[in-house]
Symmetry: C2
Subunit: 192 residues, 2 copies
Amino acid sequence: MESHISGGGMDEKELRVANQRRVGSSESLVRILVVLLTLVAALVQWLDNQTKVVPTTPPTLPATYVSVTAKWYYLSAFVYLVVANVVACVYAAFSLVLSFANRGTKKSSLEQLIIILDLLMVALLFSAIGAAGAIGLMAYVGNSHVQWNKVCNVFGKFCHQVVASVVLTVLAAVAFLYLVVLAVFGLNKRSN
Amino acid sequence: MESHISGGGMDEKELRVANQRRVGSSESLVRILVVLLTLVAALVQWLDNQTKVVPTTPPTLPATYVSVTAKWYYLSAFVYLVVANVVACVYAAFSLVLSFANRGTKKSSLEQLIIILDLLMVALLFSAIGAAGAIGLMAYVGNSHVQWNKVCNVFGKFCHQVVASVVLTVLAAVAFLYLVVLAVFGLNKRSN
């Protein structure tokens, strides 16, 4: 009877270790994905500029044209998007190393620190998405009440790159959300 | 010797129950605070409008003036801020009832659901903070590159109310962050 219980305990332990390994590799894969997503999102926004030749305002006779360049750092919301992605990318790479180092040892304080930092990345990236999304939408549709004219009708490529960077940042933020959920489920499973 | 071990077990159990109760009341207090913060943040933004008499643009001779009103729903970022706060307020009230109902029973699936929804509120509120913050900043400083003029020099009271609402939303979002951290620490304590 005793050996039966002991054997059951071993099976359960093995199952738990196998489960932890599975969660661990899933976590590592998500962190690698986040490094790539935030790196590409930062690069896409950082390389975003477009030059167009447009008629002068107010229009003159004879018509004269000027060359106008849109650059990513002209709008602080896009600077914030790049900075947030760089911070998240560096942290994701760092946390990947930390979670590898923690795998064998199970240091719960380090595990907690990683969850809290993941959580802060969720906050950081979603605020950057909100900021860049709001300014991007304003550039796309404009607003007659405050007399802010749309600019995406002129700088189409520039705006498309903003959309691409925001979409990549959304994916990275959702991946961080998933990492926190994974950690919460893992801890809950252990506590039961 | 056996009675000593049993007594020690009881003490530990009592300590755990007392700790859970302490965490539970702290959680309830934070949820009540969140209901109040998001309610006031939504109301402050929802009641935000200001009418000013300003000279016409372009200026005419003799000078003519028009009455211009700034309303919160003219800018979609502020509509998003109100909607996000209302959603967070309703959820916080609902989760308060749920966490009360869950206190005696310890249903881990319900506990997990609450943590995940708290996490989604963090994402929702921080994206709204980013959006309203970026548009608010643009209204405050303007941007010469895209020719979006600042409007806070005219509608000062309107902008102050936006700042108040954003600050209250930041506090509510940080409170949700704290709730997730509290839950993670609680689960981790139980798992050790």
